[in-house]
Amino acid sequence: MKGNAVLEPVTSISLNVNGKTIKLEVPVRKTLLDVLREDLALTGTHVGCEHGVCGCCNVLVDGLVVRSCLSLAVQADGRRVQTIEGLGTQEEPNPLQAAFAENHAMQCGYCTPGMIMAAESLLSENPDPTEGEIRSALSGNICRCTGYMEIVKSVQDAARIKRAGAGRSAIPQSSRHVAGQSYIGQRMAVIEDRRFVAGQGRYVNDVALVNMLHIAMVRSPHAHAKIKHLDTSKAEALQGVVRVVTGEMLAEEIGPLPQMVDLPHVHWYPLAVGKVRYAGEWVCAVVAENRYIAEDAAELVDVDYDVLLAVVDPEEAIKPGAPILHEKHGSNVAYERVLKYGDVETIFRQAPQVVEESYRWNRHSGVPLETFGAIGSWDAGKREIQVWASHQTPNIEDHLAKVLDIPVNQVRVHQSLDVGGSHGVKRGSKQMALVAGISRMLNRSVKFIEDRLENMTAGDAHGPDRCYKVRAAADDQGRILALDIRCVDDAGAYAGRGAVQIIKPITAIVGPYKIGAVRYDVVSALTCKTNQSPYRGFGQAPAGHVLERIVDRLAQQMRIDRAVIRERNFIQPNEFPYTIPTGAEYDSGDYPAVLKKALTLANNDQWRDRRREANERGKWLGVGLSAVIEPGVGTGMVFAVMAPNMHNIDTNMEGIRVHVDVSGAITVTLGFQSCGQSHETTTTQLVCDFFGVSPDRVRIARADSSMEGIPTRATTGNRLHLMLTLALHRAGGRIKAKMSAIAANVLGIPVEYVELYQGAFRDYRSPEKNVSWDQVAFFAYRRDSLLSPGMEPGLLENAVAKHPRGFVPPTPDGRLAGGFATYSFSVHIPIVEVDKETFEIKVADYYVVHDCGTVINPTIVDGFVYGGVNLGIGGALYEQFSYDENGQPLSVSFMDYLLPSTLEVPNIQLDQHETAAPGHPLGAKPAGEAGYMPAIPAIVSAVEDAMQPMGLKITETPITPNILYRMASKAERGTTQ
């Protein structure tokens, strides 16, 4: 028996939850949040930050909204608690739930229940709130996916419905579709939203296995130190603790984690082995009966460190003499390369105009409200590891098989969870390998849900972190002739996957402009920070940012209007396909038309008056402008440029399974899980469009990876609008052909005369001769006599689509052959106001014109844009992972890492422009990043415009009032001296 039992005081309480009185015994320290989720299985209330900032855990207590993470369950004794499950159901939603689903006021659904509870509390006190009152009431609820526009609108709609006296209202069915019209381009209601508004999304933390154990981490307090001695005995003696796993123990169980950069001497493990390389790095994993005890024990682990000098600044890290993180590797350079496309030197020597600037793009990221979580469950009998995780990782089964040293077909990664946002960052190879390894080590199921501290300091989820020096050479008309870009990127302590983001920009390095020559000189530095992770655009955003900023700078230097200089440099619509100097080929676009539309949308004729009016109110008004392209559907070639020996890749496939069952219902199986992109809805639309069936006949399922055999590259690189369409058309085409053949046999006519029309196969020469879809499906399974000779029974087809462009691998000097399949484009025009005294920055208005070709579902695509702008405002003005000079992280909570709320993100005016993609069967283009990527340069451009009276040049993000004040003071001193 274990000796050190901590006396855990418990008490009996009685709660009235959603109208039912429940008596239960709880530890006095257990939060209301955990009791609702764990003891009462009300998992619609979500864990977000556990310090009261994000709002995911909102419930009503005695009718008023409160944070259930900041309330002990015992404090709710005798009180009336209402959770999302108590408001309504999918079948009978309350007006807020119905309105949120109707307006698609969400993406991943993770913030939705908390948001709805806050709104419910508001409407119960104020049935007719103004927009300002709604925004104020929801300002303590963060959404990272779609922002707040549709949320605010939903509350207004629900208030109207409630005032009209309707108690319940229906969630619109997905068949909101005009009969006879194509399903493509329809604002079909989002299928996923129905479960999200009812609190029925199923996220990794909602999965509970029998006898599952829980993990908490012992974190390094030092940024760089040798581990001299580890004593886990006190922790292991605590009652409820099963094992304290050290780095050494885990490294015996599993191999090092795969990295995408060729670094044979940089060994990356989930737990530090011998040395810690950043503050917060996981040193031991405490495995216990519950997370509370695991945290108690983590505090009892004694670690003796030999502290080393920290390496914090990436430019310092690569200088000779800097302390080295990985001694065997010999330096802190993870990767360096000079890629040269054209005679850049000569052009710069001869060009009449040269501009130059340095930029600092500080670390920020997607920071989804659901942290990374993973469950590992080793089945010793079947010799199979099962993993559930909130991930969006391609090839994870290969990686896990490698680290566990087992065949791939012994790895089952479930792909059926809802993921509470990702924005690219939820790769989690470390976390998944950890739970898989520990599960096998202990022969128990183990769960690890990062808490916010573990996530912010060591979740390997930070975005790019770059220092740029950029030069542009131009002719006398402002036409840019060459770019010279030097970039030092801070990869963090291990290269992981994120470090590859430094190469992706070569696929669109000249943006929408005709620039003939480029030098791209890059270094990826290893520093004492958590690893960089892919984040929206895979490294493209900062590159697009500095390009837009240098174009602005050139415009200033030459006194050319910002719109005019862009127009002058644009690739013209008749010049596509257009090959940029790196070898990447753009498929199509109409950049001048989009810019023109945006200027009109933003009322550019009123800017002068608005400036004057703002000035009188004590504000400087600034208008921003950015024009950014978004590559979609990669081939993996950036990996091949970065590490050709490791990644001999020239394509990127995607699989699908189409099953028409004996009743005629269609199940389409995908091989990946989604993190808010509404794939179930768009795939349903594609299926309905392809087969002419109604949405109620279609179900989208997910196959476990490896075991159920749907090859996938997951939701990366804005690829699925194309790859799923291609795969579906292949598999669906075969189904259609088979069903047509059966119908021909039934009708006794040659198959060439059969057409599928509105749910029936008919003889197009005499339409009265027909057989229904359902009958043909039935025959396919039950009537061999109606099958053609040699035809297999059943309607089940797998297809794997290959990337539509034929590629050859990049040349040794880094020249691409081709590029991403397709390129979207958008123009952003924000209007900001800066307070002349306090330097507070407010985004007042925001205009976007977006061209992503044919839009499959405008409601979903609009949400992508709104949400992207939301994150862009964060990256431009608020969000930064700061470190002090000793490598101590300073933004470990949401009190210091600032997420924009309803009061920071304005309404966005959006217009779509459609330039159909020539390479897509439906003309669609990527839509994932056109909100985020252009937002940061646009906002910075606006702030700089606002600060024109003081002549400030903004060269870092985020740009804050503090920085503006510093720059303004300096400028003032400069002029008075």
Binding site: R29, H51, S139
Partner: protein, 306 residues
């Protein structure tokens, strides 16, 4: 981020609570009110009390009463009440104004004034407002009661003069006098965040529109809320014209070490302190002058602060 082990008690009466505090003084009793400051501290495991004494059962501490030219506000009064209670809106509008800046509804529904004041975050709204209002903070123990001015009560960052056997039971706030005005301004990174700097002012004028009384307090710049007495003294007896307000602020050195963090440097905070002090005084002056029976007229409100 789960709270550490502690014992829990919910006394039913004030006497019981005070007895518990006295007997438990040695073994670290922590008072839990709304929990909106304490619970994050516990979840982050920055405190590990042996006993958590939950005072939410002490309904007698949840009151707002008018008494002898003052408003008494019980420690268990929720922030929400500061926005909705008519006595507060009428008699201490400065508090009602400032309360709108505290967090968000979910925080205001639970958070209490006693909790916020006891937590003594130097950038929180209520401490600076109470400082400007010359409020008294009433502490009680089994030995008796004492009332402290904010200058005595707030002794450092998250530190107060409350003894471990004492419970903060109420604050006594002087009612606003006729002919007086108030102003509150703050700059935070986002609405609802703790202020980078907050300024609160009260001001009354005589029949000649000269300043009769004035208070000015700042939060967020030092380790506790501060009063700018020197600035106040420069204004008394003079008409509260914008230029004079500005000059008084400029000539006043705060004499404190100014906070600096990732959101705002000390220089920026000093700058904000001047801007916000001016805005708060200006609002207070305008309100005082227009409320004054002999007043009327306008105060110059140009804002070209440099």
């Amino acid at each position: 981020m789960k709270p550490p082990v502690f014992s829990y008690s919910r006394p039913a009466t004030l006497d019981e609570s005070l007895a518990m505090l006295r007997h438990g003084a040695e073994s670290e009793v922590t008072v839990l009110a709304g929990g909106q400051s304490l619970m994050p501290v516990l979840n982050f495991r920055l405190a590990r009390p042996a006993l958590l004494m939950d005072i939410n059962g002490l309904k007698q501490l949840d009151f707002v009463e008018r008494e002898n030219g003052a408003v008494r506000i019980g420690a268990l009064t929720r922030h929400r009440a500061l926005l909705t209670n008519d006595l507060i809106k009428q008699l201490v509008p400065l508090m009602a104004d400032a309360a709108a800046y505290i967090g968000y509804p979910a925080i205001r529904n639970r958070g209490t004034i006693g909790g916020s004041i006891s937590h003594a975050d130097p950038a929180a709204e209520l401490p600076v407002v109470l400082t400007a209002l010359d409020a008294q903070i009433v502490l009680q123990s089994t030995k008796g009661k004492r009332a402290l001015r904010t200058g005595e009560f707030f002794t450092g960052p998250l530190v107060t003069a409350r003894e471990s056997d004492e419970l903060l039971i109420e604050v006594i706030v002087p009612s606003q006098q006729p002919g007086s005005g108030w102003g509150f301004h703050e700059v935070a990174r986002r609405h609802g965040d703790f202020a980078l700097v907050a300024a609160a002012a009260t001001l009354s004028v005589d029949s000649e529109r000269r300043v009769r009384t004035v208070t000015l307090a700042l939060g967020g710049i030092a380790d506790r809320p501060i009063r700018l007495h020197a600035c106040e003294e420069m204004l008394v007896g003079h008409e509260p014209l914008a230029d004079r307000l500005r000059k008084a602020i400029l000539d006043t050195a705060t004499g404190v070490e100014v906070n600096s963090d990732i959101h705002a440097s000390a220089d920026y905070r000093r700058h904000l302190a001047r801007v916000l002090a001016f805005r708060a005084l200006l609002d207070a002056s305008k309100r005082a002058v227009s409320a004054s029976p002999h007043g009327g007229g306008q105060v110059d409100g140009s804002r070209d602060w440099k």
